[in-house]
């Protein structure tokens, strides 16, 4: 089947749905393609909250400074300015749409403290903020009547004459491939957590959006900047929200000591994420961990605070490690959490590939630079989701729809048939994925060095060769997940490759990139972005882009 729309949004998380809503408001014929029902998108997992300088005594400048300092000065300051200036209006808009944000005594929006922030400026709904925003936005999409192609899995972007003109997607329920043409595509396909093990991310966060855009020719930026969250649950890697520390929880080592006093004497547990994660790894490496974990202690907060403000993580600890936070400290360790880098865009969401926009975790504007502050990512999704929706709707007014693309559809059909017909070789999606992800954690995790990264590159080329022989253990058409998992592993390999090459290139330590062989930040040489561009049949090309500095000159970063 071939379908036409003005604007096609890939992904129905917060970024995708916000983009679709805005494009619809601008009068564009807009549709969404998503591999899971919108409500299942990973945005629902965001617990802690969303930042905005909305309260009295707060200012966008203060929010911007915290963000830029948090980014280790790698964020583009003009983009940060856009985000922080527009944040208050976006939060209030969500309130008007019906989000039941927490209130203070005056009945106005109330806040909680979050890591790396000089003011309490995080707005929240219990510890289900992401879910509350996502459901509200989904309901707005229903109200606006936006067309959603649900459980459609995008396999490739359709590029014609140097412009993105749509995509090909697999309809899971029928097993049919469709060509969806559009004058503009917004890539909002979310993160890539599954490239690492452990990760706080859902099983569906497989980096599809990065790889699709990258293969289509849009460069990726800051890919080496992978955030490890300091408090993920032992075993499963589930996130124990920063909200716990925001409410005053302690991090303890095996000696019962609040070890953050050695690493961030002022902010203690509320130092930025990269700082906390490194401190934990050091504690554990020096023998003060407990089975590879440290402890998150909430006992002194009392049952009331825990049950009212942190009910979800309380429940998770009970369900998945059998511990009651009211009475016991919880074992936690750093786990992969967020990808700061992504498809390079400007502040309207436009990528360097004409007709392709990107927003949300998959995009890199760059507002997070070397390290994202807690509660800034939800903000990123709604501010730049809205902006890309608006910009794409304006762009399509001057563009005629494509009438081609059948060749791309046929090529994809042939590719799927080949994959399905491939004989059993012993290579499965599960094995390849797990090997890849544990390898990435080992060589490209919290601490990195040249030897490890070179090894990672070597292992990656081995995995890629094996991927060419991957077999799909399900031959059905209807709901063939083995097929989509196999495609996802292909996407993840591309993401991993871009991450490792960028990490190897950056010969300094900044933000989430901690090189033991280059332990210092080096502004003279590396105050710049690394871009990586895909080239068919050749090694990818690395290039640089300057960091935009407006009013905040780089300083040493201490908490």
């Amino acid at each position: 089947m071939t379908i036409d729309h003005d604007v096609l949004v890939l992904g129905a998380g917060l970024a995708g749905m916000r983009a679709a809503l805005e494009a619809a408001r601008e009068g564009a014929d807009v549709a969404i393609v998503t591999k899971v029902h919108p409500i299942r998108s990973h945005s629902s997992a965001a617990q802690g909250g969303i930042n905005a300088a909305l309260g009295e005594g707060d200012s966008w400048e203060s929010h911007a400074f915290d963000t830029i300092k948090g980014s280790d000065y790698l964020a583009d300051q003009d983009a940060v300015e856009v985000m922080c200036r527009e944040a208050p209006a976006d939060i209030v808009e969500f309130e008007h749409m019906g989000v039941i944000f927490y209130r203070n005594e005056d009945g106005k929006l109330g806040t909680r403290a979050f890591g790396g922030a000089s003011q309490a400026r995080t707005y929240f709904v219990g510890d289900i903020t992401g879910q509350a925003l996502l459901v509200t936005l989904y309901d707005q999409i229903l109200k606006a009547g936006v067309k959603v192609y649900e459980e459609w899995f995008a396999t490739t972007l359709y590029v014609e004459n140097g412009a993105c003109r749509g995509l090909v997607a697999l309809e899971m329920i029928t097993g049919e491939l469709h060509l969806v043409r559009a004058k503009a595509v917004i890539d909002a396909a979310g993160g890539l957590g599954r490239v690492f093990e452990p990760s706080t991310n859902a099983l569906i966060c497989t980096g599809d959006g990065y790889a699709l855009a990258y293969r289509a020719g849009a460069p990726l930026m800051d890919m080496e900047m992978v955030q490890y969250h300091p408090t993920t649950l032992a075993g499963s890697g589930f996130l124990m929200s920063e909200a716990a520390r925001g409410e005053g929880a302690y991090l303890l080592n095996s000696e019962g000591e609040r070890f953050m006093k050695r690493y961030a004497p002022n902010k203690m547990e509320l130092a930025a994420r990269d700082v906390c994660s490194r401190s934990e790894v050091t504690e554990i490496a020096e023998g003060r961990g407990i089975d590879g974990n440290v402890l998150l202690d909430c006992r002194h907060l009392g049952a009331d605070v825990i049950l009212k403000k942190l009910p979800q993580i309380h429940e998770m600890a009970l369900d998945y490690v059998g511990l009651d936070m009211i009475k016991d400290p919880i074992p936690v360790r750093p786990g992969m959490h967020y990808q700061m880098g992504g498809v390079k865009t400007d502040a309207t969401g436009a990528t360097r590939l004409q007709g392709l926009y990107a927003a949300g975790e998959v995009a890199c504007v760059s507002v997070h630079g070397g390290n994202r502050l807690g509660a800034n990512s939800l903000l990123d999704t709604i501010v730049f989701g809205r902006r890309s929706g608006k910009a794409s709707a304006a762009y399509v007014k001057g563009v005629a729809g494509s009438r081609g693309g059948e060749n791309v559809l046929h090529a994809e059909q042939a590719r799927m048939q080949e994959l399905l017909a491939r004989p059993y070789t012993g290579e499965t999606h599960a094995r390849l994925r797990l090997e890849l992800a544990t390898m990435m954690d080992k060589h490209c995790g919290v601490y990195r060095n040249e030897a490890g990264l070179t090894e990672a590159l070597k292992r990656l080329s081995g995995l890629k060769a094996r991927y060419e022989k991957i077999a799909v253990g399900d031959k059905s058409r209807i709901f063939n997940q083995a097929l989509t998992f196999a495609l996802e592993v292909g996407f993840m390999l591309d993401c991993a490759d871009a991450i490792v090459r960028s990490a190897l290139e950056r010969k300094e330590s900044r933000g989430a990139q901690s090189r033991t062989d280059y332990p210092e930040r080096n502004d003279a040489e590396w105050l710049k972005h690394i871009l990586i561009t895909y080239r068919t049949g050749k090694e990818p090309e690395l290039s640089y882009a300057p960091v935009t500095i407006t009013q905040w000159k780089p300083e040493a970063r201490s908490y």
Binding site: E105, G126, Q131, Y320, Y424, S476, R477
Partner: protein, 336 residues
């Protein structure tokens, strides 16, 4: 620990693959005549593992053809509601040790929904019901200026957290007894969301909503079976929200419907005689002059007579009925 999982399989195409994956053999070819059947797997997992861990282990290392929706693995995304030992649960929140019965755990798609494949149910009825209650805020006018929020007490927001906690997993609807016999019933999840908006002080259409929810398939069609309260993994307790809606609807004057008349007839009868007069309950519920609907109930009335279940023709009061009248007087409200 070893766990035995019995999985309800269904593939409309009926072509399961026989090839060995990762050294382990696939199950024998399917009996194509009966597309749905149970297949047993054994998995080795830690003692605290959940049903979803087992399904993922099967899918990854034993049988790639097993279809199951899941994403977050931590009871947030709502993907993995299915029948576990005959009731709707989230697979990712159901501990294997708790759900092992007679040495095994049985999982299958809920029989109350159409099945697409294996454990993947067609959730269309669920989403249609959600959409049908108009689950969005109709902003109260005047809307505050763009940079100002509605001023509402935190308590009013906190009161709605219970409904907002719904992850749309569908477990409640899958086991709802009223939905099982009446596919048009809006169902527990949708009605809980209905309350979420009707109970929001910022909503302008509370009254219209209550009117719409009082119609056929609405709040009065719930039979109080309590399944939704028991099965909901997030404590949404949809029945409680339905009862809140009923109270609001009656207070708003939406009493001209079978549900309210039934409740009134019930209360009246108990108030006057201390017991239920089943002979007048039915005509009063459907309406005294609604002869057509009354006639429709005749067949079941005859069945009752045949089974000797006819209520006494002369309805007597219980001793001490005055004390019951006093209770009604104390409660007050509509029943004074």
């Amino acid at each position: 620990m070893q766990f035995t999982i019995e999985v309800g399989r269904y593939n409309p195409e009926g072509n399961y693959d026989e090839r060995a994956v990762a050294g382990k053999p696939y199950p024998p070819p399917w009996d194509k005549a009966s597309p749905r059947r149970y297949q047993t797997y054994t998995v080795d997992l830690p003692a605290h593992a959940v049903v979803l861990d087992a399904l993922i282990a099967i899918r990854e290392y034993q049988d790639e053809s097993l279809a199951v929706r899941c994403a977050c693995r931590s009871a947030i995304c709502g993907s993995c509601a299915m029948w576990v030992n005959g009731h709707a649960h989230l697979a990712c929140k159901s501990k294997l040790t708790t759900f092992t019965k007679d040495g095994k755990t049985r999982v299958e798609a809920p029989p109350s929904m159409p099945v697409i494949r294996d454990l993947v149910a067609d959730m269309t009825p669920f989403w249609e019901k959600h959409h049908a209650v108009k689950p969005w805020l109709e902003a109260k006018q005047p809307e505050p200026p763009p940079m100002e929020e509605y001023r509402v007490p935190n308590a009013a927001m906190e009161e709605l957290i219970q409904e907002v906690s719904c992850i749309s997993c569908g477990a409640c609807l899958m086991d709802c007894e009223s939905f099982a016999v009446n596919p048009d019933f809006l169902g527990p999840q949708a009605l809980a969301q209905a309350y979420r908006y009707a109970g929001d002080p910022r909503d302008a259409e509370t009254k219209e909503r209550l009117g719409a929810y009082s119609g056929p398939g609405g709040i009065w069609d719930c039979t109080h079976c309590y399944e939704c309260v028991t099965q909901c993994p997030k404590g949404v307790a949809p029945l409680e929200q339905i009862l809140k809606l009923r109270r609001l609807a009656v207070d708003a004057g939406f009493t001209n419907n079978a549900g309210t008349r039934h409740a009134d007839a019930f209360a009246d009868s108990v108030k006057h005689s201390g017991r239920l007069n089943e002979l007048t309950l039915l005509p009063r519920s459907v309406g005294f002059f609604n002869i057509l609907d009354q006639l429709k109930t005749l067949p079941s009335a005859f069945n009752m007579i045949r089974a000797g279940k006819l209520p006494p023709l002369i309805h007597k009061s219980i001793p001490g009925v005055q004390r019951i009248k006093n209770i009604f007087a104390r409660v007050g409200g509509r029943f004074k």
